[in-house]
Structure formats: C-alpha cells, structure tokens
C-alpha cells in the first residue's frame, strides 16, 4: 500500500472517531427533540457543566469560592481532599438529574404549548445561565480532567500499520489516539444501550410514544412531566459522557460548550428525530471534515473545519430537505 493511501485511511479512521464524538453530542439533541420537540441549544453547555462539576468533585473544589470570597471575604478554594473517580461520576450524575428536574420545574412547565422558536430561545437562555453558573461555581480557568481514560497514541497500532506500507517507503505508521478509540467504544455502547432502552422498556416505549403523540403517551400511564424529567436526565447523562470524553481530550474550559455547534450539522444531516441519523450523520461529517482538511484545506488556506460541516449539510439539505432518514414530505392543504 502506498503511503498516500495509508494517509487516506488514517484520515478516514480519525474522521470516523471524531465523528463518533459528534454523534455523542448529537444524540443528546435528538433525545430531547424527539420527546418534546425542543431544540435544546444548551446541550453543549450541559456537557461543559457536567465536566466542570466532575472536575470540581474530583479535585475537591469549594463551589462558588470566588463569590464567597467577594461577598464574605472568606478564602476557601478546596476542601482539602478530592473524591474517587467513580464516586465523582455518580455525584455528577446526581447533579445532572437534579438539573433536569429543576429545568422541568422552573422552565419547561411554564412553556408547554409554546411555539418551537420560543422553546429554542429558552434553551439558549438556559445555556447562558448554565455557562455563568458553571463558571461562578467552579471558576473559569482551564482544568485538566483525568479519570483514567487511556490517552495518547497507540504504539501498537503504529507498529502494525507500518508493516502495511510498501517496502522502503518513508512511512511511520498511523497515529490513533487511544482516547478516541475509547470514546468510539463508549459511544457505541451508549447507542446500543439507548436503543435497547427505547425498544424494550416500558419507559422507553413511552418516550417513543410521546414523540408521536402527547395524548398517546398519557395513555401509557406516565405523565408528560415525568417523561420530560427522564429525557432531560438521559440527555444530562449523555452530556456527562461527552463532557468526560471531550474534557479528557482537550481540557475542561469554555470552548467545550462549542461542541454543540459541531453537532448541529450532524443533526440536519441525520434529521432531528433519528438516532441512527445522528450516528451516521456524525460519521459522515467527521470523515468529510478530516478529508476536506487534508485535501481542500490547503487550497483555501486551511482552518475550514469551522464551516465545512455546515456547507456539507446545507448542500445535502438542498438536495434532500427531509434529511438522511426522514420521510418524503408531501405537502397538503
């Protein structure tokens, strides 16, 4: 195999893996949109918030330390001891569930039957709020997150791939980050778990029913509000997973919340309501982006990853407005 071809494969593999990460975020969107018709812009910030909380718990930060200092003059940054990773993850999950509960209580309950744009704006408001809250609670400095997820390049894979290159070529093997591989596996497990959950549990069926028809959901015997809390909790869980993965990779900081923007093209490509769409869309975007960077980037001066995915999605939509997995729209009047 020629090095060029190997580069290509490497790019595709990396693309697939970052695509999985996109899918992970997109999944959170899809879950909420499917169950409540809300385009939850706060999904990215939820991931940031989850990661911040996790780091805070791990390192034993005192919440609102700066604020307390500003108001009471008490200087206390740390409790002095952190938490074991597993406990911290569970603790964060509890926080996310509480958050879901509060969101339903304080926000969504009052916005039932509002137009989608209003709900969308509310989630942007929520995003602002959580961003401010996260920073206020845990500080806005960049933090490292390490809960033992393996990271760094895989030497084994480098060795394996070096063998593939044509004899005598100047090829040093493929670089694959272990973290990405882990993320891909976790994401795959998550997707399978969610599918099983929605297919085979009563709650899951209720969630699917609510997507089609609110009345039908009620007849299953679960209140709409409960369903919303559950959905937002699951979305919180997905956010936590995404937060761990992205946070481990590039540190916990404000830019983490921008991964939401990465997920949006995935959404329009895969459709707002399709879980497989989110997966396949994520993979396509991930691969497309990496390839474009490799082959088109140099032509236009690079740094195209910010918008390339959007343009891909846009062009695709023009051809197929209903997305990858949507049904053909027949307009009626």
């Amino acid at each position: 195999m020629s090095p060029d071809f190997l580069y290509f494969i490497e790019t595709v593999l990396n693309g697939l893996m970052s695509g999985v990460m996109y899918s992970l975020v997109a999944l959170g969107f899809v879950l909420i949109f499917k169950a409540s018709g809300i385009f939850n812009f706060a999904q990215g910030v939820m991931a940031l918030f989850a990661a911040l909380t996790l780091v805070g718990l791990l390192t034993g930060q005192v919440p609102f330390a700066h604020l307390i200092h500003a108001i009471f003059g008490v200087e206390a940054q740390h409790w002095g001891a952190g938490m074991p990773a597993l406990l911290a993850v569970i603790g964060t999950m509890v926080v996310m569930i509480a958050l879901a509960f509060l969101i339903e209580r304080i926000v969504l309950k009052h916005l039932v039957n509002q137009e989608p744009i209003i709900l969308f704006m509310a989630t942007i408001g929520l995003a602002y709020f959580l961003e401010g809250l996260g920073d206020l609670m845990w500080g806005s400095d960049v933090k490292a997150l390490d809960i033992g997820v393996p990271s760094g390049g895989s030497f084994w894979w480098e060795d394996v791939t070096r063998e593939w290159a044509a004899e005598g070529s100047d090829y040093f093997g493929m670089y694959i980050d272990k973290l990405d591989v882990t993320a891909a596996i976790v994401a795959a497990v998550l997707v399978v778990a969610l599918s099983v959950f929605s297919q085979y549990t009563r709650m899951g069926r209720a969630l699917r029913a609510v997507a089609d028809d609110h009345q039908a959901a009620l007849s299953v015997g679960i209140s709409l509000r409960t369903i919303w809390v559950i959905v937002w909790s699951i979305a919180g869980f997905v956010a936590l997973v995404a937060g761990i993965m992205w946070g481990s990779k590039s540190g916990v900081q404000f830019s983490l919340s921008l991964i939401a923007l990465k997920a949006l093209p995935v959404l329009i490509l895969g459709g707002f309501t399709s879980i497989p769409g989110a997966i396949v869309g994520g993979l396509i975007i991930g691969v497309g982006e990496k390839l474009a960077e490799l082959y088109i980037g140099p032509l236009v001066g690079g740094a195209i990853e910010n918008w390339f995915a959007y343009v891909v999605a846009l062009v695709f939509l023009l051809y197929r407005p209903q997305g990858l997995f949507g049904d053909k729209i027949i307009e009626r009047i």
């Binding site: 385009f39 700066h66 604020l67 500003a70 304080i106 926000v107 009052h110 916005l111 509002q114 137009e115 989608p116 744009i117 209003i118 969308f120 704006m121 509310a122 942007i124 408001g125 929520l126 995003a127 602002y128 709020f129 959580l130 961003e131 401010g132 809250l133 920073d135 206020l136 806005s140 923007l261 949006l264 093209p265 959404l267 329009i268 707002f272 236009v300 001066g301 690079g302 740094a303 195209i304 910010n306 918008w307 959007y310 343009v311 999605a313 846009l314 939509l317 023009l318 407005p321 997305g323 307009e331 009047i333």
Partner: protein, 358 residues
C-alpha cells in the same frame, strides 16, 4: 388612562393607515423624537455615547433587520453576526478604496453589499424550513467570519488582522475615528436608525410586509393566493441583511473604530440579536427597539451594580451577568412569550379602556 380618543375619528384611509392613528400617541412620539434629536446632543458625554446610546442605536438597527426576517417573514436566522461582519468589512473596504466617499453613503452601500450576500444565503430557505434553516444559516455565520480572517485582502494586509476606521468628516465634523465628538456620532447613528425604522415601518405595513407575514403564518396558503415564495423570502433576506449590514457598518465605523472578526462578529452576536428580537417582540418595529434597549442597558446596569457598587471582581460580575441575562430571558419567555412590545400593547389596550377592566 391618558387616552382621549372620543372625537379622534378618521375621514380618510390615509389617516386611518398612519403609523400612529391615535392623536395623543402621535404627539408623544414626536415629542420623543424632538427630544432625541434636539435635547440629548447637548447633554451627551463619552460614557453615555459609547456605553449606552450608540450601542442601543446600533443594536436597534441589527434587531430591526433580524426582526424583518424572523418576526415578519418567519425565517429563523442565526447568521446575524456574520452579516454584521459583511457590513463592517464592506464599510472598511469602501472607506479605504474611496477616501472621498461620504460616510453616510458608505454606511448605506455597506448595507447594499450585505443585502446581496444575504440574498445568496437566503436561497436555501426556498427548500429548507424551520430549525433546519436556522442551523443552515449558521453556515453563513462561520463561513463569513472565516473568510474575513483568512483572506488578507479584506483587512488590507494589515499586520494585526484588525480593521481600523480612518477619520471621516461630515459637515466638517469628524464622525469616525478617535477625534469624533460624542454628539456627532450619536446624531449620525440616530439619523440612520430613524430613517430606516421609518422605512421598515413602511415596508412592513404595505404589500411586501403582508406577503412576508403571509409566508410566516402559512406559506402554502400564501403561495396559493398569489404570493411568490421566492420573491417574498429573498426580499426579506435582502432587506434584513441590508439593515444588519448597516448595523455592522455603524458598529465598526462609529462605535468601535477597530474590530477583529472572531470576537466582534462571533456567534454570540447572532444570539444577542435574536434575544433582542424575541424579548422585544417578534413582528414589531417598536419591539426591536425595546429588545435592543433591554439587552444593552441590562449589562450596563448589572455591571454598575456589581462592580461599581458592590466592588466585585469583574470576572465574577461577568459570570453573574450572563447568568442573569440567561435567567431573565427565560423569565420573559415564560411571562410574555410575545415580548415587550406585546406587554406595551396590552398596557395600551388597558389604558384605552380605563377605567373599565376590559
């Protein structure tokens, strides 16, 4: 309760269709305008100019533009920041390429350039609807900012990558650059906003405005009764971008004087404009002003309170600020999803019926 409408009747359609059909409102409005033009300039200082009035006017302009697209035509856009950037860079290129050009003409032409770009990005709206379109407009946002970063031609190959507005005079008074007196920049901004708010009102109350609203309310029925979707949507994108382009041009020329695209025209600006439109009131000219006023004044007030009064560190204050802004947005959406303009309308209705409750 201030209303005295008995005897204020209309004998012609012209009178019936005027912007302020109630006499007392008309008087109030003009009193307000006269005060804005003839009184405020005598009292304005640097702080009020740069922190309150110019930001208010520039953002009002952007909100007006976005409201035309979202509020009147029903096409959600998240690309406002990008379009503002187009306006700003168009103004920069025009100012540097034609140093003799009148600054007002520069501003308007920048709007024109943005309108053309906006139309191009509006084309997908013919096929794509709702959130799909909203997300698609993000393509414009990211793409445009990238373009202005990437191609040095746009910033005249300056080393910093920034663009800086050269000084331009209007009637012999500098209105851009560091030497411009506050009253002059204020008057320029006020005049531009006043004229285009008036034009915006004209457009929205006439045939075009009704066609936009028809598309917004029920696009299929609109097409069947003779509204051509292409024209209606593209014209909304054009007019909207025109306004946003002017806002961007003013943002750059008379407000900041020097900008760098990623920060000044990032996606947060897009959201900001959208907040203004939603909090102010979709489909309302007045709402655009109210929304802009609210979101411009609120941070100023919060900052004064927390940093000035309580003496907190600025980073804590700014975290608090976005928290409060977020919370207030949610609060407003819950209390009155149709915005401040609707609150105003309801209050007005109440006052017109006073002392009766309904």
């Amino acid at each position: 309760m201030l209303y005295r409408e008995a005897g204020d009747f209309k004998t012609s359609y012209r009178a019936d269709q005027q912007t302020f059909p109630i006499r007392s409102e008309r008087i109030l409005f003009w009193a307000f305008i006269v005060a804005a033009f003839a009184v405020v300039p005598f009292f304005i200082n640097d702080y009020w100019e740069k922190s309150v009035l110019i930001p208010f006017l520039v953002w009002s302009m952007a909100a007006l533009g976005l409201n035309i697209l979202v509020g009147y035509c029903g096409q959600v856009s998240l690309g406002t920041g990008g379009f503002m950037a187009v306006g700003a860079y168009a103004a920069y290129k025009l100012m540097t390429a034609f140093p003799e050009m009148n600054i007002l003409l520069v501003i308007v032409l920048s709007g024109g350039v943005t309108a053309v770009v906006g139309m191009a990005f509006g084309l997908p709206s013919l096929r794509i609807k709702g959130f799909y379109l909203a997300v698609a407009t993000l393509a414009a946002q990211f793409f445009l900012v990238w373009v202005f970063n990437k191609f040095p031609w746009f910033y005249n190959y300056s080393a910093s990558g920034q663009i800086t507005a050269p000084e331009r005079l209007l009637f012999g008074v500098p209105v851009t650059g560091p030497n411009s007196p506050p009253w002059a920049t204020y008057l320029v901004a006020l005049t531009v906003v006043f004229v285009f708010a008036w034009i915006g009102k004209n457009l929205t109350r006439g045939r075009i405005g009704r066609q936009w609203m028809a598309i917004r309310d029920m696009d299929i029925a609109a097409e069947i009764i003779g509204v051509e979707p292409l024209r209606a949507k593209i014209s909304a994108f054009a007019v909207s971008s025109f306004y946003i382009g002017i806002a961007g041009a003013m943002y750059f020329t008379i407000w900041f004087g020097a900008v760098e695209p990623t920060e000044a025209f990032g996606i947060n600006q897009s959201f900001r404009a959208l907040f203004m439109v939603i909090i102010g009131g979709l489909g309302s000219i007045l709402g655009s002003f109210l929304g802009a006023g609210f979101l411009v004044l609120l941070p100023v007030l919060l900052k004064n309170l927390m940093v000035g009064q309580l003496g907190w560190a600025t980073d804590i204050a700014s975290h608090f600020e976005i928290m409060i802004v977020g919370a207030l947005i949610i609060f407003f959406l819950i209390v009155e999803p149709h915005g401040l303009a609707q609150l105003w309308r309801l209050t007005k209705e109440k006052l017109r019926l006073w002392p009766f409750p309904h």
